[in-house]
């Protein structure tokens, strides 16, 4: 059965009986609630209340509550929101504020399985179009739609961290990679035949360990293992050494190593820890940012899969250094397939006395970690937004100052570090600051994981000391015909051949690790337009310049692509970009114009070639023919002015 169902309400009218709870909620009639409605209301109320109870009705666990309600009912109904508001003590509009913020939560009914096709530019260049068609045909629904029997929804979603094996998709809680149209059709058939998403991975999915499941779904693609992270690692050696040191000594060691944050901004890790440690407070927190959402980045995916113990070890060391007893791993919603794996690692470490009370027998060294799942919001990679999200709020950055190290999670000093940073810290405690700082170059010590994808022979992860040139990395990756390289993802820099000698380090090309390669066959403006649409989609909307300005930038790039740009529009792009950068509230708006600015700088001809000159100060970009076309058809006559051999 095929249905073009734009929202949940239409689906119910097709007569499908989904198990009735949400059906009832949709047909809420103020006059004359029938007994079925009442009954199902009661059952949804009870079930939602049970979910809330599972989190002690704590409003700070709102995201977890909503994720579970979504999973169970395939949407967050108004009824559910009222119940949640009631039990958590919030207003219903506050609950809706959270529910409407995250892409993976829905205020209209979705299918029991949601298929999310990654529509990153890399996936588009790898044949996403044909795969989308195969899914649409196979499932009988269009992207954005839900099948009439309530079984499936089909959506696009931005980068899911699988650019090295694109095209990729999330199907329910599993991920599928290296898709082809044939594979897509087979998947659609299997799903329609009643197979679960897990069956698609393996018929004995349930028998596999969480790590085996992850390996079955996703290739690690480790192309070059460096000395710090991906080479041999002695288990918990750093943590054991840390126990012999005082907290200030741990911080001194990390600071002496020269370690800087690996998310891209590069704040000195030791300093961050020291600031949190010296702040007067009753409690402190350590949070791991595993929300890598920068398109083209997938290094944390590999660390989470292959080095989860090292990551938790690093967090535990940080906890000892700053005096935190609680930690959070914030895992992006797209990496839900790694959830069980991480949970298993946490459980294993608890069982072995590496987490919990008196870690490794050290009296008073208590530290435990909870896993916080995200729900589809790039902005949550920003540390303030990530903390907001952990607190059960919409993922909006916080006003700075105060900074998280002084007032972070729940108002307490909080260290937020990238997953890679924690791994490095653990290794530094094992091998020493000098060992680490000897690698890399001045100001950028140690190694860095680079996620290479796009037009190259060997996409994957490269662990290299800081200071290599882009050219050297491209040669390793088999990307000799690269014409443009995006270093640091869309919020980084797009460079051309003439600057491939630039170095990957904080003083030259600072990066969180994404290196996206484009050959000469790619259209730069298409890439830029995609990335601007990404930022428009991912802006939280809190501040004016980012919310509105990015829409204007996206529209302006559209004008260039359509050949409707005025000569002054190049200056306009620069001018508007600088306003957005200077007035935005957080890093998203401060970097979102970068795809435009760096291509204007490094590929100026791409823009100037698309500009329409203005003659007699009359804008050629105003297209009178398309402007009167509708009226011409409606009036069934031609224009006296613009259709005859009329010379103006």
């Amino acid at each position: 059965m095929v249905a073009d169902a734009p929202n949940g309400n239409d689906i119910t009218r097709t007569g499908f009986d989904p198990g009735a709870e949400w059906f009832a909620a949709l047909h809420e009639e103020p006059n004359g609630i029938d007994s079925l409605t009442l009954q199902t209301h009661t059952s949804e109320t009870a079930a939602v209340a049970e979910i809330c109870g599972g989190f002690d009705n704590d409003p700070h666990r709102m995201l977890d509550i909503l994720r579970q309600v979504q999973e169970r009912y395939c949407w967050i109904s108004p009824q559910a929101m009222r119940v949640i508001a009631d039990l958590t003590g919030l207003t219903p509009i506050a609950v809706e504020g959270v529910a409407s913020f995250y892409s993976f939560l829905s205020l209209s009914l979705r299918g029991r399985v949601t298929i999310r096709l990654c529509d990153d530019i890399i996936d588009r260049f790898s044949g996403l179009g044909a795969i989308t068609e195969a899914f649409e045909t196979g499932l009988g629904i269009k992207v954005g739609g839900t099948s009439a029997n309530g079984a499936f929804s089909l959506e696009f979603t931005p980068c899911i961290g699988l650019c090295d094996q694109a095209p990729a998709a999330m199907v329910g809680d599993v991920v599928l990679t290296a898709l082809t149209p044939q594979k897509a059709s087979r998947i659609a058939e299997a799903l329609k035949a009643g197979q679960s998403p897990e069956d698609l991975v393996s018929q004995r999915f349930g028998d596999l360990s969480p790590h085996e499941r992850a390996e079955r779904m996703v290739e690690n693609n480790i192309r070059h293992a460096g000395a710090v992270l991906l080479g041999p690692v002695a288990a918990d050696a750093g943590l054991r050494n840390g126990l012999d040191l005082s907290p200030p000594q741990i911080i001194d060691t990390v600071e002496a190593s020269g370690l800087r944050g690996c998310g891209g901004a590069g704040f000195t890790t030791g300093r961050k820890w020291r600031m949190a440690a010296t702040e007067q407070a009753e409690r402190r927190f350590v949070i791991c940012n595993a929300d890598e959402g920068e398109p083209g980045t997938f290094k944390d995916r590999v660390l989470l899969t292959e080095r989860p113990h090292l990551l938790i070890e690093g967090m535990t060391i940080a906890a000892r250094a700053v005096g935190a007893s609680q930690g959070i791993v914030y895992l992006r919603g797209e990496y839900v397939y790694l959830r069980d794996h991480i949970e298993a690692v946490l459980a294993d470490r608890r069982a072995r006395g590496l987490l919990g009370k008196a870690i490794l027998g050290a009296d008073g060294f208590d530290f435990d970690i909870r896993l916080q799942m995200g729900a589809g919001a790039y902005i949550c990679g920003e540390e303030g937004a990530l903390i907001s999200s952990c607190e059960g709020l919409p993922g909006e950055p916080k006003t700075r100052p105060p900074y998280p190290v002084t007032r972070g999670y729940l108002g307490f000093p909080t260290v937020v570090n990238n997953a890679e940073t924690f791994c490095h810290a653990a290794r530094i405690l094992d091998r020493g600051a000098r060992w680490f700082s000897a690698m890399g170059c001045q100001g950028s010590h140690g190694t860095k994981l680079f996620s290479v994808s796009g037009d190259c022979l060997n996409p994957g992860i490269y662990e290299l000391p800081y200071g290599q040139t882009v050219q050297e990395l491209l040669e390793m990756a088999g990307a000799e015909d690269a014409a443009a390289v995006l270093v640091g993802g869309p919020s980084g820099t797009m460079i051309g051949r003439d600057t491939f000698h630039r170095r990957l380090c904080f003083d030259d090309l600072a990066t969180g690790g994404a290196v996206v390669v484009f050959s000469h066959r790619r259209n730069i403006l298409e890439i830029v337009e995609y990335y601007m649409s990404f930022f428009v989609h991912e802006s939280c909307g809190y501040c004016t310049p980012c919310r509105v300005g990015n829409v204007f930038l996206q529209k302006a790039i559209g004008k260039f692509r359509d050949g409707k740009a005025n000569p002054g529009d190049i200056d306009y792009l620069r001018d508007l970009s600088s306003t957005i950068i200077e007035t935005s509230r957080c890093g998203l708006g401060m970097t979102s114009p970068n795809p435009i600015l760096s291509t204007l700088e490094n590929f100026p001809l791409v823009y100037s070639a698309m500009v329409k000159p203005t003659r007699d100060r009359i804008r050629d970009t105003f297209d009178i023919q398309s402007a009167i076309d509708g009226a011409r058809k409606l009036a069934r006559r031609r224009s006296h002015i613009f259709d005859r051999d009329f010379t103006e």
Partner: protein, 189 residues
């Protein structure tokens, strides 16, 4: 005694209500002072229908809602050294541009005209037709501000602009002393 050459001014009313032209009269007795500096060429005020020669200043009231507006506006841009958008309609579309925001259907123009001439609640149109005389210019898909169609040099805000701001702007432009508007003069209503 020879008088200094007077500046030539042309005016046009596009998709507006003619209120901005009426506002020109709000300059009151200062009009006499102004006419010493200018002579008016093509304008509804003189009923001259086409440019007799190039004008120094063109003043446009109203935005572009139909093809004729575009034609006239382009003609003004070609024939005037300085082009001024007078009033909110010329500046940003004004009241006629209200239709832009309600036209989000597949056939927005049809929907808009049908409601205006046939299905609207207070319509008494016994012919049940949308007017379609060949003499009527074709409507544009939406209402455009003048600056979207041609380059505009100055904008005088207001609905309608006050006699004061019109006089102040014109007299300063004519004497080369225009440095922007006094903040207390700027009004969008």
């Amino acid at each position: 005694m020879s008088e200094p050459p007077r500046a030539r001014i042309a005016t046009a009313s596009l998709a507006g209500c003619f209120g901005c032209h009426m506002a020109i009269l709000d300059m009151d007795e200062r009009l006499i002072e102004l006419t010493k500096l200018v002579e008016i060429d093509r304008s509804p005020l003189t009923d001259i229908k086409s440019f007799t020669r190039r004008a120094d200043i063109g003043i446009i009231e109203g935005g572009c809602c139909n093809e004729e507006n575009v034609h006239v506006l382009r003609d003004f841009r070609r024939n005037c050294d300085v082009l001024i958008a007078l009033g909110q309609c010329a500046i940003m579309g004004g009241l006629p541009a209200m239709r832009n925001a309600i036209m989000h259907s597949d056939e927005p123009l049809r929907e808009c005209l049908e409601e205006a001439f046939i299905s609207g609640r207070n319509i008494r149109n016994t012919t049940h037709n949308i007017p379609n005389d060949p003499a009527l210019p074709l409507l544009l898909d939406e209402v455009y501000a003048c600056s979207e169609v041609v380059e505009i040099d100055y904008q005088i805000p207001g609905c309608a602009p006050s006699g004061d701001i019109i006089f102040d702007t014109l007299s300063r432009l004519l004497t080369g002393r225009f440095r922007g508007f006094g903040r207390d003069m700027i009004k969008f209503d």
